[in-house]
Symmetry: C2
């Protein structure tokens, strides 16, 4: 299933790297925890990082009920956000062709602030289980006071695009004879072994859902429930 | 030296994590290669990742002369961008207190499109040497055709803030007796050993500036020329 190419999501530069495939775009979303949201303050665009969760065509964001960005997004009713994973630095013989291997996604969606406790709990569950699969079932659920203090936004993804750059360094034909070094420096996001909180109750072992998360990340894949 | 706190850059939520110190903000910029820029298209805010270079209070961005985002930024004359490094995932006994350790910076600046070849070369040198220190001196400089095809933007940083979250997990007092596991999963960006391009001229060894970059990143520090 592909998102329709429109003036909004069509990739203008580097079209060969572009994808409108939902499976590709959603796998980039699922491999990341943090996106950067764009929003307007007095007509000026601002960028701010925030974590998120995905379930089907829906994304969820949350923040304090007093948070400005989520308040503006709820009022605006639409949003654009991006995520990116850096995979390698590409060093070429010419300054001009230096580049990076990466996977990025740009998402456009309609924003709705969730109001009922049931809706908010469902949104927060998605965020927590996106963070670490199965985590929601292994921690204390938010109480009424905590829910009241939290704004939860649901974003219906209406349009999106991805860019995947994974090709080797390329130079101008005349530069290949030069003595300048060219190559790549691979970049990886490594999730290390879980460390228990110092105040953890004696006898509580690292649970299997946390170990599974660690193992899945070691294999550069993230389990998605 | 600190940036003045104004309505624009003042951190509203999580004030204890906030810093307006130039040294702190610039070290976050220097440890990263990619930022996310916010810009308006027909009055709607969009987010898009791009690489950058810093020299003093100036940032440089570049793109194809046909690139829409850099064209819009040049026209708008001002920009907001953000960078973020994820350092750990914080798992708490309560869903409510789940969080991450991170270092982020939000930058506001005035944008000027560089027009002379000398200015553009200086901007591109900053970007390439921010990418890998000393790289500019060890690759072929852009020629007139390449320079013409490239738009280079200079951003004078006028305001900024950082947020650094590096505290251990915290729960409500009544949750510490629970059997739920709490702890952190450290996250690291690892730069692996440089791999030569398959088409590299025979006899060309990995140069010292590339090995130095690798070693510096292994020590979680980036050399800044």
């Amino acid at each position: 299933m592909e998102f329709q190419k429109t003036a909004q999501n069509r990739v203008k530069r580097g079209r060969k790297k572009a994808s409108y495939d939902k499976a590709v775009i959603y796998s980039i979303l699922d491999q990341n925890e943090i996106c950067t949201v764009a929003f307007n303050v007095d007509g000026k665009a601002q960028a701010q990082p925030i974590n998120y969760g995905r379930c089907g065509d829906l994304l969820y964001l949350h923040g304090s009920a007093k948070n400005r960005m989520t308040s503006i997004l709820a009022e605006t009713g639409e949003v654009c956000l991006s995520v990116m994973t850096l995979d390698a630095m590409k060093l070429t013989r010419s300054a001009y062709h230096h580049s990076v291997k990466f996977r990025s996604a740009i998402i456009f969606g309609e924003v709705r602030e969730l109001s009922t406790e049931a809706e908010k709990l469902q949104g927060l569950k998605t965020i927590i289980n996106h963070f670490v699969a199965d985590r929601w079932e292994h921690c204390r659920s938010p109480n009424a006071k905590e829910l009241k203090a939290t704004r939860v936004l649901e974003i219906k993804i209406t349009s999106a695009s991805a860019k995947i750059a994974d090709t080797p360094p390329v130079d101008e034909p005349e530069d290949y004879a030069s003595d300048y070094w060219a190559g790549i420096i691979p970049v990886k996001t490594v999730y290390e072994y879980p460390l228990a909180d110092e105040k953890l109750k004696q006898g509580v072992e690292i649970p299997s859902h946390v170990l599974e998360f660690y193992k899945a990340k070691r294999q550069s894949k993230k389990i998605k429930q």
